[in-house]
């Protein structure tokens, strides 16, 4: 399963993009995985329903941190409707990991997406359904 540690993942793990925090911010959402203690905080600045700036911080395995790094690159310029459309399939495509048969590591990969979804729905004053996080 060393496929999981392709150069791209290791590169993002070593040199994460958009690492840090935003102050002030419009969205700041922290999520953690109680199974392994991984933690991701995602900060967003939003102008006219569009994400203009993004930063993440946290601690965790290479998969969770690299996925967050790659996701933040995608988010800049995305509007909130697009965020609502953006799901697990898109993220797995983005990071290019075959995690369908690996439910434990899937949770690592999806941690930043969860922070994004929960944070944006909260910003919009809407409730998120658990389906959307599965």
């Amino acid at each position: 399963m060393s496929d999981m540690y392709r150069d791209l993942i290791l590169e993002h793990h070593r040199y994460p993009h958009n690492f840090g925090t935003l102050d002030p911010h419009d969205v700041s959402q922290e999520e953690h995985n109680p199974l392994c203690g991984d933690r991701i905080r995602l900060d967003l600045r939003i102008v006219d329903n569009k994400i203009t700036e993004v930063a993440f911080s946290g601690k965790g395995c290479a998969v969770s941190q690299a996925a967050a790094s790659m996701l933040t690159d995608e988010l800049i310029g995305m509007d909130l409707d697009q965020v609502r459309q953006y799901g697990k399939a898109e993220l797995l495509d983005l990071i290019g990991l075959p995690l369908d048969k690996n439910p434990v590591r899937l949770k690592c990969a999806l941690l930043s997406l969860k922070a994004l979804k929960v944070g944006v729905y909260r910003y919009l004053g809407q409730n998120i359904t658990t389906d959307e996080l599965d």
Binding site: M1, S2, M4, Y5, L10, L35, C36, G37, D38, R39, K59, G60, C61, A62, V63, R105, C108
Partner: protein
């Protein structure tokens, strides 16, 4: 260099999962989580369903009589393993967790008062913390924990102070992370001296060493079948007969009653009082086969072999400078397991890369969040051994760790 009191190769040949044809046979180092099963246990389970299947303690027909006989024989074997004074002191539960919940609710619910203290330790598994929290919330009892030192041993300097007001000391015999084996006999004396009872979580000790409830003089012992080469779904609560006799039921239903009217019931004697509903008959019988298997090899022999494995594991881990392992140094009070961290690499990544090399270890907090807070690490990797583990498994672990260094170095 390691000379087992039994033939490890023969032992391994008795475990079908270790014989699976594969280009990459598994180096199974997660026995502390759940052990593998020998053919004798697997066939005992299957044979029950093939030849003896019927409900127990009910039918007058032959199959039911035979099932009841086998089920009760398993109880007797468990009693023999832990040197219980009477087989009626052995209650079958689902697992260690359910056994502890039983005591917390049945004993705690009728004996704990507001302000009473339940004393735990910082190294407890969540299963020996959360049930006590639940009963503390109901009764107003309070929780306290014995701290650990930097070597993962209990700090007992202030034990007399810590024991003030204590009604129950609930403590693990062997830590599932540090491998620390706690001085149970000594702590039992101290607990009894202040009128407290002691419940021992034996999930990590009963499978690996001789545990004699009379010699230890403890009050309750909880353990799981699946960690001691038995099946999942069956565990044991042992308790002193006088204490069990005085406890109200935990779960209500069939089998646990004497008489029932719509308004009220009278309850059966122990152990039936605590075994509501149709029990895990096949699993209990297979646990009996597991006990027979272990006792034929000898618990003292298993402990002696694992002691050598423990020393070898630590010696090999010490060859990897990036590794920090937790728990006491090799000695009589350390079991054959090691939780460790590696500089700059998350435990999940370590476990994943090891999996790619055919080495099965666990990564996470191993259901011991308070302990990991004390160790000041969010999680760790744990390699744990059993009687079928050989030095080759440990060598493969260490080779796998070189691969981790290569990738993350």
């Amino acid at each position: 260099m390691i000379k087992a009191p039994f033939d490890v190769a023969t032992i391994r040949s008795q475990f079908p999962i270790l014989q699976l044809p594969s280009e990459l046979p598994v180096a199974f180092l997660d026995s502390a989580s759940s052990s593998q099963k020998p053919e004798a246990v697997i066939s005992a389970l299957a044979d029950y369903y093939r030849t003896t299947n019927a409900n127990v303690h009910r039918g007058v027909y032959q199959l039911s009589e035979q099932a009841t006989f086998e089920f009760e024989r398993a109880r007797g074997l468990v009693a023999l393993l832990i040197n219980a004074t009477h087989h009626r002191e052995v209650i079958f539960t689902r697992n260690t967790t359910e056994a502890i919940n039983l005591v917390a609710h049945a004993w705690g619910g009728s004996n704990l008062r507001a302000g009473d203290v339940i004393l735990l330790t910082q190294m407890e598994h969540h299963s020996n913390i959360v049930p006590w929290q639940l009963i503390a919330q109901r009764t107003g009892a309070v929780l306290r924990a014995i701290p650990i030192d930097s070597q993962g041993r209990l700090v007992l300097d202030d034990i007399d102070t810590l024991l003030q007001g204590v009604k129950m000391l609930a403590i693990t015999h062997q830590s599932n992370v540090l491998g620390t084996i706690n001085p149970i006999a000594e702590l039992t004396r101290k607990a009894h001296a202040v009128g407290a009872l002691i419940l021992v979580d034996g999930a990590q000790s009963v499978p690996h060493m001789p545990v004699d409830v009379q010699a230890l003089d403890i009050d309750f012992l909880a353990f799981s079948g699946h960690k001691m080469v038995g099946p999942t779904g069956v565990g044991v609560l042992w308790g002193r007969k006088a204490l069990l006799d005085a406890m109200p039921p935990f779960l209500g239903g069939g089998s646990m009653i004497k008489t029932v009217t719509i308004e009220s019931s009278t309850y059966a004697d122990v152990p039936a009082r605590f075994e509501a509903g149709t029990p895990m008959i096949g699993e209990a019988i297979a646990l009996g086969a597991a006990v027979t298997y272990l006792m034929d090899i000898g618990m003292a022999n298993i402990a002696a072999y694992e002691h050598q494995l423990s020393a070898y594991l630590i010696e090999r881990l010490d060859e990897v400078p990036e590794v920090t392992w937790y728990g006491p140094p090799v000695g009589a009070d350390r079991g054959a397991m090691a939780a460790f961290s590696m500089t700059g690499v998350h435990p999940h990544d370590i476990a994943q890369i090891l999996d790619g090399e055919g080495v099965a270890v666990r990564a996470g907090h191993h259901c011991t969040q308070p302990l990991h807070v004390a160790l000041d690490v969010p999680s760790s990797v744990r390699a744990s051994c059993y009687l079928y583990t050989n030095t080759h498994d440990i060598d493969r672990l260490v080779r796998g760790l070189s691969k981790v260094k290569q990738l993350f170095g």
